[in-house]
């Protein structure tokens, strides 16, 4: 039954032009591991295709979303990191194996007649593969891919005459943006796969037709490829794949830097297989762009010319020393420059510091993206999803120089975690002109400043603090203490201060709502108003911010000050990864 079913299927297919007598593919001489590289490359391209298709189900080629979608793939989608790692490192493996394939072909003179076309298609494949890698690197839209691409396009733009046009065509317009990504995406997932697929088909078809170049000279018996050679190919595939797998797992896939940010400097480095060009460019001073443009053309041209120049039938490397020597020299140069570039990076301490900083930024961005999502305004704004991020940035640029403990030019009270809590209030009342409070202001040196209350009874002080603390609107006020604090206030403070909302004191700031968000907003907006420092207008150096900052910005700062009251230095450190 089983056999007849098989026959039925076979006959069905044969009658419709499928199957039937196949001419067994043969190789000359013995099966050999020397012939495996083409097949291994084929396998690696299939891995790229499979992982690429899977990733395409997650990727969004838009300047606001690209980074977020890659971060989601890398950090949240199940096994996303693994496939992304396979894809990125698989491309590296292709470059390595293709390099071996090329060197081997050149070494054994396998490009010679009649296989020149196979050789040229191979060179074309190498070029297309490198272009494929370049178009892929920018898609992640992180600092690394973005800046590397900027350099690459910058070099291409140095092409005489056509440079400007090339740049505009590459970017899809005058600058980096959505159309840059959609364009590189189109090249990466449509044009280049189709081109590479077509060229591979031609390369393999011709190579199969002509058969591999026999390893030795003289007549050799042909043997079927299957299974002796196929097994060797498969073993080679398994070995390469195991190494790739180990690398992908040990590196947890590919890296992902912080979102692309044109304002944030980054030490752009090309993909490692362009490092030799990078180093060469570094070494060539003012001619850098020209060198970076011409060198690949020279190398490519030399490889293309090889079968045209080396035309004698001899294939033994020992009888083709000039060519083999030239090739070895080129290879040594490329390897040497690559190593020099990698080594010189390890020598710079400054670079190491910047890289460490960039790594911290990348880790923070990815953590925030995981926890809070990427804002619709763009991946760069993911930093703003951290709690108080906007206020922190404002504080750093507008308030820090006068209010930070570390600031050399501090002119006002220190604003730090715990600002305005009970301990802070107690310390302030005891010594308002202490260095951390009014000490550095003009006010501290005058009679107008508040007198220290060192002698106040501890319970009175505690009750008074509770009363003033209650003005902030916090929910943990101890009502008994607060009530008793009212008497203390009437006795000790009310001559100068007022406690009613919106009321200035007779000769000092009104304390209604002190420590609340509304109070801080009002104070930041105009510290010199009658309600706040109006009595000492000339001695209060703090400028008003109601013109300089928007209402939303001032409110963000006010919210931050409220948050600071209960924050610890550790809370603050989380917000500022650089400290």
């Amino acid at each position: 039954m089983k056999a007849s079913m098989k026959d039925v299927v076979r006959d069905f297919l044969r009658e419709r032009g499928l199957g039937g007598e196949r001419v067994a593919s043969v190789i000359p001489g013995e099966a050999s591991f020397a012939y495996v590289f083409g097949t291994v490359l084929m396998f690696l391209f299939l891995v790229e295709a499979a992982s690429g298709v899977a990733m395409a189900a997650f990727y969004a080629p838009s300047s606001t979303d690209a980074w977020g979608s890659v971060a989601y793939l890398q950090d949240q989608a199940l096994l996303g990191w693994f496939l992304r790692g396979l894809h990125v490192h698989g491309a590296s493996a292709i470059v390595v194996i293709a390099g071996i394939h090329l060197v081997q072909t050149a070494l054994y003179g396998a490009y010679k007649k009649p296989r020149e076309l196979v050789w040229w298609l191979g060179i074309l494949l190498m070029v297309l593969t490198l272009a494929w890698a370049v178009t892929g690197y920018v898609l992640r839209w992180d600092q690394a891919g973005f800046w590397a691409n900027k350099v690459e396009v910058g070099i291409a733009a140095a092409t005489p005459l056509l440079g400007g046009v090339i740049k505009k065509l590459a970017l899809g317009g005058n600058d980096y943006g959505n159309l840059t990504l959609t364009r590189f995406y189109m090249l990466h997932v449509m044009i280049l796969p189709a081109l590479v697929g077509g060229v591979i088909a031609g390369h393999v078809m011709l190579a199969r037709k002509l058969g591999p170049t026999p390893l030795g000279d003289g007549e050799q018996v042909s043997r079927p490829r299957w299974p002796e050679q196929t097994l060797r190919n498969t073993i080679a595939i398994a070995m390469v794949f195991t190494i790739l797998l180990a690398y992908v797992i040990s590196t947890h896939g590919a890296d992902l830097a912080a979102p692309a940010d044109p304002s944030q400097a980054y030490d752009a480095r090309p993909l490692w297989y362009f490092r030799w060009l990078f180093e060469l460019r570094e070494l060539s001073g003012s001619a850098e762009k020209l060198v970076a443009l011409i060198t690949p053309a020279i190398v490519g041209g030399a490889l293309v010319a090889l079968p045209l120049v080396d035309r004698l039938p001899a294939r033994d490397p020992r009888r083709r020393l000039p060519y083999v020597g030239g090739l070895a020299g080129l290879l040594a140069l490329i390897c040497g420059l690559t190593i020099a570039s990698l080594v010189s990076d390890t020598h710079s301490e400054e670079l190491a510091k910047r890289v460490a900083k960039a790594d911290v930024r990348a880790a923070l961005a990815r953590k925030l993206a995981r926890e809070n999502g990427v804002p619709a305004t763009g991946a760069g704004d993911v930093f703003m999803t951290a709690p108080m991020a906007k206020a922190r940035a404002l504080f750093d640029s507008r308030c820090k120089s006068c209010h930070d403990a570390q600031s050399k030019d501090r002119k006002g009270p220190i604003i730090a975690p715990g600002h305005g809590n009970r301990d802070w209030l107690k310390a302030f009342i005891k010594n308002p002109s202490g260095d951390e409070f009014w000490g550095r202001t003009k006010l501290s040196k005058t009679d107008a400043s508040m007198k220290p209350f060192q002698q106040m009874q501890p319970t009175d002080l505690e009750n008074l603090v509770e009363l003033i603390y209650s003005e902030s609107g916090e929910s943990d006020v101890v009502e008994d203490k607060r009530k008793r604090g009212v008497d203390v206030f009437e006795h000790a403070c009310s001559d100068c201060h007022a406690r009613e909302d919106g009321m200035p004191g007779s000769s000092a700031p009104g304390l209604g709502g002190v420590g609340s968000r509304g109070y801080y907003l009002s104070f930041i907006s105009n510290p010199k108003s009658a309600l706040h420092m109006g009595h000492d207008k000339d001695r209060s150096q703090m400028p008003r911010f109601d013109k300089e900052l928007t209402l939303v910005e001032r409110d963000a700062l006010a919210e931050y000050l409220v948050w600071l009251r209960t924050a610890t230095p550790a809370d603050l450190a989380v917000l500022d990864p650089y400290q």
């Binding site: 891995v47 992982s51 189900a57 989601y72 989608a77 096994l79 299974p227 097994l231």
Partner: protein, 174 residues
Amino acid sequence: MADEDRRKFLKVATCAIGGGVGLVVAAPVLTLLADPATKITVTTPTAPLDLGLVEQFRVGAEPRKVDVIAPIVKDAWLAARNVVLGAAWIQRPASDKVVALSAVCPHLGCAVGWDASAGNFLCPCHDSRFSPAGDKLTGPSERGLDELPLQVVDGRLQLMWIRYKPGQSVREPA
């Protein structure tokens, strides 16, 4: 014969190694592609949404459409703010009673409108009609309009947004 055995072994070995490698590539690909199907990739608010003061709705007036806006929706990697989820038809039959009907047609999910001339709800896609109370009148819909949980807190309307499965007579959250 020994050569035959050897060839057979080589064939089996080739297929085994090749199949193993293929599996290690294919399995993660399928896992990754299936992963979103196992997750809540687009969040819906779990807390009631504020629709504003209850006093903006007059007692006994015609139903009024109010957009239901989620303060934040997480969509895969994106955190979008103020996302319109849909709309609800709000009526206030008595001063202490407010009713919200989902504007999502229970037939196939089109947006139901108010036909002022007929005084009932009309779905423009397949002409299902519903009474002001949401009961099914005519057309292909298998059930009436879906009422959404509504409560008044401090004079403000708080609506719970729920999507129900369309195309069936039983009301079941989607």
